[in-house]
Amino acid sequence: MTSTRTASRTGLAALALAAALAVAGSANAQPRTMLNVGMAAQDISRLDPHYSTTTIDKVVVGWMFSGLVRFRPGSISPAEIEPDLAERWESSPDGKTWTFHLRRGVQFHRNFGEVTAEDIVFSLTKAADARRSGFAADYRAFEAVEVVDPYTVRIRLKEVVPSLLGLVTNYHGGNIVSRRAVEQLGDRFLREPVGTGPFQVTEHRARQSLELAAHEGYFRGRPQIQRVSYRFIPSDASRDLAYQNGEIDLIYGRQDQSWANRMKALPNTSVMVFDPAELGLLHMNITRAPLNDIRVRQAIAHAANREELIQFHGVDVSRAGTGLLPRGYLGGIEVGAVPHNIERARQLLREAGFPNGLTIKTITTQLPSMLATMQVVQAQLRRAGITLDMEVVEHATFHAQIRQDLSPIVFYSAARFPVADTWLTQMFHSRSIVKTPTAVTNFSHCGMADAEIDAARVETNPQRQLELWATAQRKLAEAVCAVPLREGLQIWARRNSVELGYQLNGAMSLGPLLTEQTRFR
């Protein structure tokens, strides 16, 4: 009897324990809803998408904004562009008039109301205005953006552009901002932007983090992640330790083989390497001595050693630059990557009147991967007798100073919409020369290919268009406006418990997109 009672007590206790564990288990089974992201940054600079040029800003802008159309999440292929704020669109037979029909009921963040055609007109007009946008040059072909009705917008072009949809995607100037928010918030819009994406800014903690919350009214559905903390951890080692300690779930990586290998070895971690590759070019100001002597520029081009750079960064995360455009861009050709030849470099310097070498100043960023590249290049040029006097500054300062034309040599690493026109216009058209009213990122002051770039933009014959772009690149390469160095792929890592909700092959925002489907397992 006693043993029966004991047994029944034991059984009850076991049952109670099992029930308790089941309850606890079900409580633990609740997936997390707060995502911590570690970014190599001191701080954000400008979150107005029409100004965001740094990787740090672009990543987070990608979570907050929508375009009329969008790249399918995880893809950067123009062939996979799909509806976003616009449900459908059509163009006139001559390709100069495009009409977009908007999705109804799409809400801006923070109760800034519904997206209407007025917002689209305001946003695209702002993107095309050099006083209010850093990408105005891309929109030069826009003649007018008009409201047809509250849910219909018409874009009229002065001339046909190579890819109109590329200008209205969720990328750069194509991101749609709220008219009311821009007018109401003024300069605050740079830090507290208002878009229509799945996440919205709730707080900016200077030099610490940007806090975001799910946009409950997101038109594709309520995001499964409720809060995102975008933490600024500039040091790679500190960021890695934070990841290993479980403080962050998604981490911006170092474009370095040893980093990739180490992260791959961590348990429950996936390393994500994806496009677009950012092409690093060494832009040389052809108007400033001694770089105004083409022999000096040629010497620098011959002193650069791309293979060594690939060995330095690792084959998983980088590949040699083969031209003035990143590989795979429509219209890009392989030109300008001259062979590494130290003797030839020295000879050119002697011919230019620098038998004992020369010193050139440059401003470079503290951003670890870019600084490391520049230190390798510095050593390579040193072998040819060229001393790079590097001033190392914080990343946002670097961006500000190179745009003030303060650095005769600029190492600039970037990715753009994968069509030659965008890249050539921003990097090598004279309208884009830094410190001019229409400045973008022409640091070399080259303008010898303006005619071809302009002609290609309106050329309707695809073959002729390709020829014009090729000619432009050959002219620029001949003038040695820039030296192609390496293409760096994007590299991030995440815990396996974070499910992005799509296959990540590429992201124009240079970081994994967080969508309404992104969640913890």
Binding site: S235, A237, R262, L371, Q375, Q378, V392
Partner: protein, 305 residues
């Protein structure tokens, strides 16, 4: 240590000066060496310092590789027979960079503290000698400067002037001026009341002559001891500024800069940080031992005077 110069002048005044002058300590150096000897750690500090200075001077002969030469194929190699302290992220030999890095640390420390000794010492001497409102104003200005921690003040100055060797020296020396002014002023206040100074004035000596010929030798020992102690601080501040990216520009090797570069790879290649760290530790330790020994040897209380 303090040995007053033989007063000059003729007749009764000269006799008065001679009577009041601090007795030149016959055998003072020998006694100092004796007191210095009493503490073996002082000699250990001096020996370590001499070794580090010799390493810095003969770095081109001792370094197995060019400290700037990159060898990408040899990057992040652990210590081995080929690379005794391993290689860094750029395949540069850490040993060679540590040896050359000593030069920057020593140059910055010596130049900065030398400047601070001259500037601070002069301010302290003149301020103490002139006295009155001028003294109050100068010392209050020094107090304001002293209220900032050396690193913060150095950081602000380098950030304003730009990260260059010269600016680093200026920044560190500015942070060290106030303590030297203070240390020079205190004995000046006492010495200026002495009869030989009065006599000097009576003989019509210029203020500059009284300050720099008659008072200075009496305050010199304190300033020198202070200088030795502050050399260690200067090494630390230089390393800290380099660590936070405000040091000498790359690729020049500096210990702080090496630690900064190493930080990005500390999980993969800790040796890149360990060796410059040990070098900083050794130099600071040596300077502190030496400074402590000198201070003890010149401290009248410890000498039982």
């Amino acid at each position: 240590m303090s040995a007053a110069p033989a007063p000059t002048g003729n007749g009764a005044e000269a006799a008065a000066i001679a009577e009041d002058s601090p007795a030149p300590r016959r055998g003072g150096l020998a006694r100092l060496v004796g007191l210095f000897n009493a503490n073996w750690t002082s000699w250990a500090g001096l020996a370590m310092l001499v070794v580090i200075v010799l390493m810095a001077i003969f770095a081109p002969l001792l370094a197995p590789y060019d400290p700037l030469d990159q060898s990408i194929l040899n990057r992040l190699k652990p210590p081995s027979a080929d690379f005794l302290m391993g290689t860094d992220a750029f395949g540069r030999d850490v040993l060679s960079r540590v040896l050359y890095g000593a030069r920057i640390s020593l140059i910055v420390a010596i130049a900065a503290i030398g400047l601070a000794m001259v500037a601070g010492g002069t301010i302290g001497l003149v301020s103490g000698y002139v006295g009155g409102r001028f003294d109050v104003a100068m010392m209050q200005a020094m107090d304001v400067l002293m209220s900032f921690p050396s690193l913060i003040l150095g950081l602000v100055i380098v950030a304003l002037l730009g990260p260059e060797l010269r600016n680093l020296i200026v920044a560190i020396s500015l942070t060290a001026v106030p303590p030297f002014a203070r240390i020079a002023r205190a004995p000046t206040l006492a010495v200026k009341e002495r009869a030989f100074v009065e006599a000097g004035r009576a003989l019509g000596f210029s203020h500059a002559r009284i300050i720099f010929v008659h008072i200075l030798p009496n305050v010199m020992s304190e300033v020198v001891v202070m200088g030795t102690l502050w050399l260690a601080t200067a090494v630390r501040v230089e390393a800290s500024l380099s660590f936070i990216g405000l040091g000498v520009k790359p690729p020049t090797p500096t210990w702080g800069g090496m630690m900064r570069d190493a930080f990005e790879n500390i999980l993969d290649a800790p040796w890149i940080a360990i060796y410059p760290g040990l070098a900083i530790l050794a130099l600071v330790f040596a300077l502190n031992l030496l400074g402590d020994g000198l201070r003890d040897a010149t401290d009248p209380k410890l000498r039982g005077e």
